[in-house]
């Protein structure tokens, strides 16, 4: 009887504490390495994009009147949460307050989308983007009642108009 109880206790500990804790630790480690890699990559690309002026102004600041016709440029990014962040967010939702990890997740998605848009502008020979607009898409199914199939993720779409500036304005 005592032995059976001990085995049951160990089994319960493994199933309800050790395994979930190991999974959370693994998700935390994987999620953190992904996040760090992404931030490093973003920092390098944003440094290379410093010559591209990105504004949300409706006009064309510093536009070259003889420039080729401006073009619509867009960028999009869907960045996943990880198991650890989602679990922490579950707790945060219970107690209320800011979720720093999800705030950072959305910021990463926005930076990625803007960098892609600016890269698209540069690839077509432009050096400025104006009238930038942000928007989002609910691919995760969080607003459409997908219930348990809903996936926590940060999705950002951004659009703007690419044009060329006068060399004096650069």
């Amino acid at each position: 009887m005592g032995e059976e109880e001990a085995i049951g206790g160990v089994a319960a500990f493994v199933v309800y504490v050790a395994l979930p804790a190991a999974a959370l630790l693994l998700w935390w480690a994987l999620g953190r390495s992904q996040e760090r890699r992404h931030l490093r990559d973003l920092a390098a690309r944003e440094a290379a994009l410093r010559g591209v002026l990105v504004t949300d102004l409706r006009g064309f600041p510093g536009a070259d009147p003889a420039c080729p016709p401006p073009e619509l440029v867009c960028g999009e990014a869907a960045i996943a949460s990880d198991g650890f962040k989602s679990w922490v967010f579950g707790l945060r939702n219970l107690f209320g307050g800011e979720s720093k990890s999800f705030t950072a997740l959305f910021e990463r998605a926005r930076r990625e989308a803007v960098a892609r848009m600016a890269e698209a502008a540069r690839a077509r020979g432009f050096d400025a983007v104006c009238n930038v607009r942000f928007s989002t898409v609910d691919i995760g199914g969080n607003a459409s009642g997908a219930g348990k199939k809903a996936m926590p993720m940060a999705v950002c779409t951004v659009s703007g108009t690419a044009y060329r500036r006068l060399s004096a304005a650069r």
């Binding site: 006009g59 619509l72 990880d82 989002t136 898409v137 609910d138 691919i139 993720m153 999705v155 108009t161």
Partner: protein, 107 residues
């Protein structure tokens, strides 16, 4: 065709407005990509399948909008805006709309 999300085009003047044009699309990725995305949501990182889905949807919506503008005899679409709707997990609707116009270079 000049497609911009501003109300004016530098160096060009608007000759004629042709009215609003729009294009939309609802797209999804195959079930395998959805399963992969579900797993990705445990380990973190970019959901490349869904980024691709957005890019394809936006291109499709814009090209449908451009086809409408072309049919109206316009050579530019001004003030382009995007709008989206929630469909279900793994799918999205993107609509692009703007004002079709005829523009010409300022003398």
């Amino acid at each position: 065709m000049i497609v911009v999300n501003t109300e004016t085009v530098p160096g060009c003047r608007i000759v004629e407005l042709k009215g609003m044009v729009q294009g939309n699309t609802v797209r999804a990725k195959h079930a395998g990509r959805d399963i992969a995305a579900g797993l990705k949501n445990l380990i973190g990182g970019e959901l490349k399948g869904y980024t691709e889905l957005l890019t394809e949807s936006r291109r499709e919506a814009v090209s449908r909008m451009m086809a409408q503008a072309e049919a109206l005899g316009a050579n530019a679409i001004l003030n382009v805006r995007f709008s989206t709707s929630a469909v279900t997990a793994g799918a999205s609707e993107i609509m692009a709309y703007g004002t079709a116009a005829v523009v010409e270079a300022e003398a």
